[in-house]
Amino acid sequence: MTDITHLDRLEAESMHIMREVAAECDHPVMLYSVGKDSAVMLHLALKAFYPSKPPFPLMHVDTTWKFQEMISFRDMMVKKLGLELIVHKNEEGIREGVGPFSHGSALHTDIMKTQALKQALDKYKFGAAFGGARRDEEKSRAKERIFSFRSAEHRWDPKNQRPELWELYNTRIRAGESIRVFPLSNWTELDIWQYIRREKVDIVPLYFAAERPVVERDGTLIMVDDDRMPLQQGEQPMMKSVRFRTLGCYPLTGAVESTANTLEGIIQEMLLTTSSERQGRVIDHDQSASMEKKKQEGYF
């Protein structure tokens, strides 16, 4: 076993999970959020099924407030790999003009992300959806299974999870129920970056430092990605060398000042900083158990 490294073991486990889903589940889909975890998940899917293409489409839930560079990167990847991509937006939310500035982060995330995801899963009747969540991200995720079951109402019941024994996954569901599958459950943030480096996985350039227009709000640097961002009195976008540790809706994603423009540089910064990854994400900062609550309500 001396030759098998931890990345090899993680890779093999993820590939095994994806193949189980492809073989046993009806209508699987891979949720592709365009971030680095999705990039790794997609790369693993290419490996798991090679020389075939992954036997499921990708789906992006577009809140319409994503960084522009994420969208162009997404379209470039799909074209390059020749994969099917479903883009779903909450049209009702769009008609009502829902956005983080006008409705606040919590309501925006609920309508444009959580509700939109439920709509899409109902619309296409996907029996299983891959997500890139990892157990090291957050406490309640540490206890979630790799195969996580959702009722017909998309609810998660943490007290009633199926035991996962060895690598024998029970994928059976009843009509209307669905499974969220997390093939990266056992990866850590460092594993993800090491793997990206080893495998030369393409990632959105936003992860690398560059001069970008930002404003500082409540101690967080927000990038002015388009002209929908209302500037407050006296606010003037400044050009700063920044990068992002996590990607989402640009108004809800804090940038960090950095000059790291190589993978080694990013990893070095990550290892030397002491702030955990999701801190850049505004939505789960209110209380420790909030993710558990959101997941019960159907958040991915």
Binding site: T5, K47, F49, S52, L165, K293
Partner: protein, 635 residues
């Protein structure tokens, strides 16, 4: 620790290259709330700098709110993820934690220790390479210690850390430590699997002997917990076993390519290796090991690969590609250890779905032969299995499957049972051995059938199984029956306990395990004799009901005839033909049935012989008459 590594600042590339080659170790911590498992893991995360600063701030806030350590940080709060657990101060579920050092990455399954969470512990143990078993130094070995050790040992974990925690509360006493270690070592002798024990005195709360050796325990020479976990070797057993790969997915991008994707369960594979596809049994060669990064020259256990075969032969999901020279067994009936995981108890004879490897079959689970009391490790009679109970059962499948015993190749001998109505996973199972090898491909097909062999002898084969206490008269009666049968021109053979122990079973003693093996062997021999058309007379104490039932299930329906030679203990002891009872009473002989080892009398034997008022000849007459009545003999 990894994150203090000076290379991060000075040469990140060198750091990354070194870390890329780290191996992975999965471990499970077991102990109950009060033993401090969560505190220990919190400490491991902290000492390896994996608890990041903002999480630490949360933790300080939560410690003040609901901590149990006064002003100090309550590390347990770092790992108890669900809100319900934090409020109640207990760990309900299995939580997986991650940390890494310069040498290894670790995945730790943190599981609760109470008996009602046995299933959670087994879940965590199923994927672990090493178990860390916590003991509160003040309490010593408790019932739960025995339970935890039994579960990890049953699940085939060969490396165990006996973490004697809270040493600070016993003044770091070496005597106390040694006392606990020696008590555990004697307990370990009764565990089902082989186990390698490393005892370490700890204080998770104070950090003693976690990352480095503590000044508080100068008498302990190491290793520290992390040092042990970093260096312990695991997994070499899988690579030495013969090649096995369950086919998960048939890879068919176009008409010119047909590959078989799966994760290697054991053994190595190279192009040109000869393989068989089971259960079909067709033989071919490996053509290529295809991967996204180009063809591989070899692959080993734990790798997910895609294989192509030289010949166009049938192979689909659920089949297993195995080394042609040493293929798996193929069977449709097993004995297995089962841990029941559902609130709804096992319904014997009901059909459950069984997932084994990449295959889903239907299995009928019969009434348990016995259950195992996880606290005392004793066998107990059982009609069913309730939540968290472990039992030994016979399973019959609707089709043949390839398998290896769990203790040989984990991924080939493990299965889950699924309720067909609720879809819940209701049990985990470990295959012990096959009871019936129908269609077994290394079973040489023979032109002369067992029926022809019996016909040639003009008799109906049978196994007359004499069970009873030592000195009850089994062999005397068997001898009398054989004489009668011989005079009737019947072909017979007597397998006598004492005689067989001089040859076939000379390596076996009288512990429970050896008694079981003793019976397993003789039952198989008797079965072969019946196959050969003989009437076999087996005269063995065979004290355990489950082994007699095993023997029964091995034979063709109706061929096993259980004869209970019912002699009360005082009568047998009074006779004491061989002088053994006297020795047993004086302690000269250990594990003597009836004195220091149990005898489980048959409940419904085919024939019961009361030897108190029956002579051996009369007993033989009774048996012969029974055989005539049941059509085994024609007079």
């Amino acid at each position: 620790m990894a994150h203090l590594d000076a290379l991060i600042e000075t040469d990140i590339r060198a750091y990354l290259i070194a870390h890329e080659h780290n191996s992975l170790l999965r471990c499970i911590t077991c102990g109950s709330v009060d033993d401090g498992t969560s505190t220990l893991i919190g400490r491991l995360l902290d000492d390896s700098k994996m608890s990041l600063e903002d999480q630490m701030e949360d933790l300080e806030r939560d410690s003040r709110k609901s901590g149990t350590q006064g002003e100090d940080i309550d590390f347990a709060l770092l790992v108890d993820g669900l809100a319900a657990e934090r409020e109640q101060g207990i760990t309900i579920d299995v939580a997986y934690r991650f940390f890494s050092t310069e040498k290894r990455k670790f995945i730790v399954a943190d599981t609760p220790g109470h008996e009602q969470y046995t299933r959670n512990m087994a879940t965590g143990a199923s994927t672990a390479d090493v178990a860390v078993l916590l003991i509160d130094a003040r309490q010593g070995i408790l019932t739960q210690t025995r339970r935890h050790a039994f579960i990890v040992s049953s699940l085939g974990i060969h490396r165990l850390v006996l973490a004697i925690n809270k040493m600070d509360l016993v003044d770091y006493s070496e005597a106390r430590y040694k006392e606990i270690v020696s008590e555990f070592e004697s307990l370990a002798k009764h565990l089902p699997g082989e186990i390698d024990i490393q005892a370490i005195p700890l204080s998770a709360l104070k950090g003693d002997n976690i990352a480095g050796l503590s000044d508080q325990t100068p008498w302990y020479k190491g290793p520290s917990l992390i040092e042990y976990l970093e260096t312990v070797s695991v997994g070499d057993k899988r690579i030495k076993a013969p090649f096995r790969m369950p086919v998960q997915w048939v890879n068919r991008p176009n008409l010119d390519f047909r590959g078989f994707s799966g994760k290697i369960a054991s053994g190595e594979i190279r192009p040109l290796d000869r393989v068989k596809i089971l259960p079909g049994g067709k033989e071919t060669q490996i053509e290529r090991i295809v991967s996204y990064d180009g063809d591989l020259q070899s692959a080993e256990p734990g790798q997910s690969v895609t294989l192509t075969l030289k010949d166009e032969i049938d192979c689909s999901r659920g089949d297993v590609i195995v080394a042609a020279a040493s293929p798996s067994e193929v069977a449709d009936q097993f004995q297995a250890h089962i841990l029941w995981m559902s609130d709804k108890r096992l319904l014997p004879s009901r059909r459950y779905l069984m997932k084994v490897g990449a295959k889903m079959v239907t299995a009928t689970v019969y009434k348990p032969k016995h259950r195992i009391d996880v606290n005392t490790l004793e066998k107990r009679p059982a009609k069913t299995l309730e939540l968290n109970e472990i039992g030994v059962c016979t399973l019959t499948l609707d089709q043949d499957i390839p398998f290896d015993p769990y203790q040989s190749v984990k991924d080939m001998g493990s299965f889950i049972l699924i309720d067909r109505m609720t879809n819940d996973t209701v049990a985990m199972g470990l295959i012990d051995f096959a009871l019936r090898r129908s269609g077994n491909i290394h079973w040489q097909a023979l032109d002369i059938s067992r029926d022809m062999l019996a016909e040639q002898k003009d008799q109906r084969p049978a196994v007359l199984w004499f069970t009873g206490l030592s000195g009850s008269g089994k062999s005397t009666i068997a001898n009398a029956v054989q004489k009668r049968l011989f005079s009737l021109d019947r072909h017979t053979y007597v397998l006598d306990g004492d005689n067989v122990r001089h040859g076939l079973n000379r390596d076996l003693g009288f512990t429970d395990e050896h008694r079981v093996e003793n019976i397993r062997r003789v039952a198989n021999v008797a079965n072969l004799m019946a196959d050969a058309g003989l009437i076999a007379l087996v005269s063995f104490i065979s004290p355990f009901r489950s082994e007699r039932n095993m023997a029964r299930s091995l034979m063709k329906e109706g061929e096993y005839i259980e004869i209970y030679v019912d002699t009360p203990l005082n009568v047998a002891e009074e006779r004491d033909v061989k002088g053994l009872y006297k020795k047993a009473r004086s302690g000269e002989i250990k594990n003597f049935t009836g004195i220091s080892s149990p005898y489980e009398p048959p409940k419904t034997p085919e024939i019961r012989i009361n030897t108190v008022d029956t002579s051996p000849e009369e007993a033989a007459e009774t048996i012969i008459k029974w055989m005539v009545d049941k059509g085994f003999l024609d007079l």
